[in-house]
């Protein structure tokens, strides 16, 4: 456990000693901020227009729901930005060790492969959490000026965390296959994108396969979280996906070690 922690701390240092981390956080925050602004302004505009209309025609104003019309699509958006940004977080997690030759240090130290993999995975997840902090601040503004429900916000973050964990596990696996960070980033993005769009293929396939493809699609499982529904089936899906990624990384490290 102490050794896992040592790996974790080292990875956190690599993140925050590198300018890339700050660029990634900044890019994520700017994108998240722009989308937040766009959603917010269109929401406010719609509500405002409706108010004017209701006064003009003396009809009762429609009910505008912040959760449904702002927060829900916003979470969907954050998931999409994560798809693009997380490969940049996971790309160097393992490939850098191969490039620097530090695998030789790790493999000849009394530390197990699972400690290495889990330490790195948890560091990636922590970094993702840090990346999400600014979005929490944006959403907090809604609570200051409005009265949204808290439940869907919390469930949305749970969903993001689970989705992110699956992407990070997949990206870590890809990173363990190459010593080139760029290839690791592209590969990680490709894998995540594949899991994202796999559901689209469902409409072109038979009913049996469609079911499988729809099940595998990472975004299908996200909808409910964004709407405030926490379904254990979806939680299980993301945990399973993360576990598969971690397991594959584990296997890839063991295999590399046997071949090298």
């Amino acid at each position: 456990m102490k050794k896992l922690l040592a790996i974790y701390q080292k990875e956190m240092k690599h993140f925050f000693y590198s300018p890339i981390a700050y660029i990634v956080i900044a890019a994520f925050t700017v994108l998240a901020g722009i989308f937040f602004y766009l959603y917010l302004s269109s929401f406010v505009e719609a509500a405002f227009m409706d108010m004017i209309r209701s006064q003009q025609f003396r009809t009762p104003p429609q009910k505008f729901n912040v959760n449904l019309q702002l927060i829900r699509p916003y979470f969907w958006n954050l998931a999409l930005i994560s798809l693009f940004v997380l490969p940049l977080v996971t790309m160097r997690l393992y490939s850098e060790e191969k490039k620097l030759g530090t695998v030789e240090l790790l493999y000849t130290s009394p530390i197990s492969v699972s400690q290495i993999v889990l330490g790195k995975f948890l560091a990636g997840l922590t970094f993702y959490l840090v990346m999400l902090i600014p979005t929490v601040i944006f959403q907090a503004l809604l609570f200051v000026y409005g009265d949204p429900e808290l439940g869907p916000v919390l469930s949305g973050y749970l969903g993001l965390l689970l989705l992110g964990s699956a992407f990070i596990a997949g990206g870590l696996f890809i990173s363990s296959l190459t010593e080139n960070q760029i290839i690791a980033a592209i590969g990680g993005f490709g894998l995540s994108l594949l899991l994202w769009v796999i559901g689209w293929a469902a409409s072109f396939s038979g009913p049996g396969l469609a079911k499988v493809l729809n099940y595998l699609s990472v975004i299908n499982h996200f909808e409910d979280f964004a709407q405030g529904v926490i379904d254990s089936q979806h939680i299980a899906f993301y945990l399973l996906l993360s576990a598969v990624g971690i397991y594959l990384t584990f296997k890839s490290l063991e295999a590399i070690r046997w071949r090298a």
Partner: protein, 314 residues
């Protein structure tokens, strides 16, 4: 302390080491000497449990590499050919990390790290980022890392490669001082390094052990065939006749010197016959310009053994 038995390792079809066996006693500094691609790194990677051999067995610090790799890893310090450094960490941070993954207990962490820093001569750069250090200092950080947790066995792969002469001398001195407390295996393709730092040498070539002994014994073994260099000016037939009188001469190489028309003989002899040879040459009327005996250096032995090996393979 270390016992290596019939280690063989293939990379696909390619045989990197073949039936390598040797022993290292406690406190000894052993040199693994061989040209590039001889299989030194491969041997070391097997002993450090980085990868398994294709066949064969080894015990390091009392533990078997197949049965108890974790126990082996707890007791070794390893400096790979390229020091395994994280360039963005400070020296201290890096050593702290390595100490932790090596399982140094929390209460001894500080003292272990500072003693490694001191022994490797890193005190002045302990707070610097590793990426900003010179090659020599990076090598020392690699060495400091291997010293953490006071390992029973130190395995150093070409520890002086790429350093400038002053750094080389310093690192060698450091390694020499490590013997006694630690059992050390160091690999090198540089002969003087072995003569200076090691008590025993294993010469390895094309994956096979071709000789193992102390540097002195290896030299003595070839003393049986000493070399005499002779520079003469005179009638070739006379010279041949004189040399023919000595059954102690086992082989001769002739070389015509371009400058002055003299002839140089390099003679392999079974005993020191300089005295008789000088008299015989002078009495025959041939002009003698130089006569000296040349002891084999380890370098010659190395060349001798490795070329012989190549002939055997061919």
């Amino acid at each position: 302390m270390i016992e290596v038995k019939n280690l063989t390792r293939y990379y696909g079809e390619k045989c990197a080491i073949n039936n390598v066996s040797f022993r290292v006693e406690k406190g000894e500094v052993l040199g693994l000497l061989g040209p590039n691609a001889a299989g030194k790194t491969t041997t070391m990677r097997i002993l450090t449990c980085y990868m398994p051999p294709t066949s064969g067995d080894a015990w390091v610090a009392g533990y078997n590499i197949w049965e108890a790799p974790m126990e082996v890893k707890k007791r070794i310090g390893y400096l790979p050919e390229n020091p395994p450094l994280y360039h963005d960490l400070r020296v201290e941070e890096y050593l702290n990390f390595v100490a932790k993954i090596k399982g140094v207990p929390g209460n001894r962490l500080k003292s272990q790290v500072s003693s490694a820093i001191e022994r490797a001569g890193l005190t002045s750069v302990a707070r610097q980022v590793i990426g900003s250090l010179s090659k020599g200092y990076k090598q020392r950080v690699g060495l400091a890392q291997a010293l953490l947790n006071d390992p029973d066995v130190l395995i150093l792969d070409e520890p002086t490669v790429g350093l400038d002469p002053r750094q080389i001398i310093e690192i060698r001195q450091l390694i020499k001082n490590l013997g006694g407390d630690h059992t050390v295996i160091l690999s090198t393709h540089i002969l003087p390094e072995v003569e200076m730092t090691c008590q025993r040498v294993v010469i390895i070539n094309e994956g096979q052990v071709v000789a193992q002994d102390t540097p002195e014994n290896l030299t003595r073994r070839l003393r049986g065939t000493e070399r005499i260099l002779l520079e003469l000016d005179g009638d070739t037939r006379t010279v041949e006749e004189v040399l023919g009188r000595f059954p102690q001469i086992t082989s001769r190489e002739v070389e015509k010197l371009s400058g002055n028309g003299h002839v140089r003989y390099a003679l392999e002899v079974t005993e020191d016959i300089r005295n008789q040879l000088a008299r015989a040459v002078v009495e025959s009327g041939v002009n003698l310009y130089e006569l000296r005996s040349e002891a084999y250096s380890l370098e010659d032995i190395f060349l001798h053994l490795t070329t012989k090996e190549e002939e055997a393979v061919a």
